[in-house]
Chain length 276, copies 2
């Protein structure tokens, strides 16, 4: 039973929403960063932790991927996909015309750039460390508004001046639930791995990927992260359909590991299915 | 002759340093974002533009890649690699013990997290829109320091309280010089492309990569970016050694394009060689 779930706080973040949906009834505990969530899982301070992995507009969440690579006793137990919806929030009573500054996390500001340029062209834009922090500050600051979630507005006593202000309607974030072991097979699973190959040899990456394709295993995601050794040396992160205990997947994993200079299994977990 | 070079301002950024090194004697013109630099090149407002592409610690610069994908009349003419060095900067006379807040761009703060935690554990951290903006603000704010480059300190009359404060000594950023055409062959070149493949078929990515590997063409970089259509649909960005006019590279490019659902040639350009 999951009793304590870590997430990227403060309360009101999309991470908290994912944690509440993943573990209804569990205690949700805010941590200041994604690496701190991963650390708390590794330490055993919590049962599981929720971290954002990728967003349909922004791409991978690099600090999460890098933290996972550093903690090899932490595994993926589940994935969740949440729609991301941005709102313009301010202290109750502030009119849109009276807004002097809009604050938010740089990523949220970027996702609402079109709205800000067309509807609030003369307003100053200010960076904050999180959308939740921006909403808390804006509600207490005359003339200030913030971009954040509906829940952030509720938690901070803010009023919603405009809904769905992101430039692209389709905006989803994929989260991982992390624990100290992965998930048993359910029949509809995914597996996530990371590896490094000899970087100066033509075809070494392809040689690894062929171990999947020749077994008809479908890759659902390919990312690369810098190895932090030098420019041009990368860690590849791959998700594919199947559970590590299934015969073809097990065979492929063994072959990939044999061809890699570094290999890490993040684990197998049930594939997320959108609620109807 | 390059007379006007756009870069991500304000003056003092690493982008300006790259522009000054790339086009000595040219006028350097600051723009507010990487997309604005790409737009200025596309419009013909400048001859060329300098944009950051990837960093050895942080990985790809997503807003640059996304802007390049949107502007198909803009091409890569050159690449440059610059070492990135962070300094603690404040108004002259401020002692390290008297610092109450450290401000910088979130990426610079992240790269100096170890230094901040061990040397300034009680100091508040504040996000800014750029390192240059942080230094300008900090120099005018009692008790404030900022993280930025040596040149930012000079431009703003700031004093350097500590040098090389980044957690990992090796920190390099790779820049592209963009123009309205790419570069002729020099005998030691690279080529950058982007493409999308059918995402629900096992092996479709590998089929494309094999067009390079079976011709012994060395890929130097593989990135993916979200297509902005849905989670799980990606645009792949690949760099390889060779010029698009060379026989094998030309053959491979034709085959890659034939197998792609979207294809974009960013161009061929001289490979960067570290100065001795």
């Amino acid at each position: 039973l999951v009793q304590r779930i870590a997430y990227l706080g403060p309360p009101g973040t999309f991470g908290e929403q994912a944690a509440l949906r993943y573990g209804p009834g569990a205690a949700t505990i805010a941590f200041p960063s994604h690496p701190a969530v991963v650390q708390a899982v590794d330490n055993g301070d919590v049962d599981e932790g929720i971290v954002a992995i990728e967003n349909s507009l922004e791409g991978p969440v690099n600090e999460t991927l890098d933290a996972l690579l550093r903690h090899d006793r932490v595994f993926v137990r589940s994935e969740l996909v949440l729609p991301i919806d941005h709102n313009l929030i301010a202290a109750p009573g502030l009119a849109i015309d009276a807004i002097e500054v809009v604050m938010s996390h740089p990523q949220a500001l970027a996702q609402c750039r079109g709205y800000l340029e067309t509807r609030l062209p003369k307003v100053r834009v200010e960076a904050a460390l999180s959308t939740a922090a921006a909403v808390a500050t804006s509600v207490a600051t005359p003339g200030a508004a913030a971009i954040g979630s509906r829940r952030t507005a509720e938690l901070n006593g803010g009023a919603i001046l405009a809904e769905h202000i992101q430039d692209v309607a389709l905006n989803k974030t994929r989260f991982f639930a992390l624990g100290r072991s992965d998930h048993e097979a359910t029949g509809d699973d995914k597996t996530s791995i990371a590896f490094t190959v000899a970087h100066d040899r033509p075809g070494s990456l392809i040689g690894v990927l062929q171990e999947l394709s020749q077994r008809q295993i479908n890759m659902t995601r390919v990312e690369s992260r810098p190895s932090r050794e030098d420019l041009g040396i990368y860690v590849f992160l791959i998700d594919f359909q199947g559970h590590r205990t299934e015969a073809l997947a097990a065979e492929a994993l063994e072959a990939v590991e044999a061809k890699s200079t570094y290999f890490r299994l993040f684990g197998s977990y049930p594939r997320f299915v959108e609620p109807a």
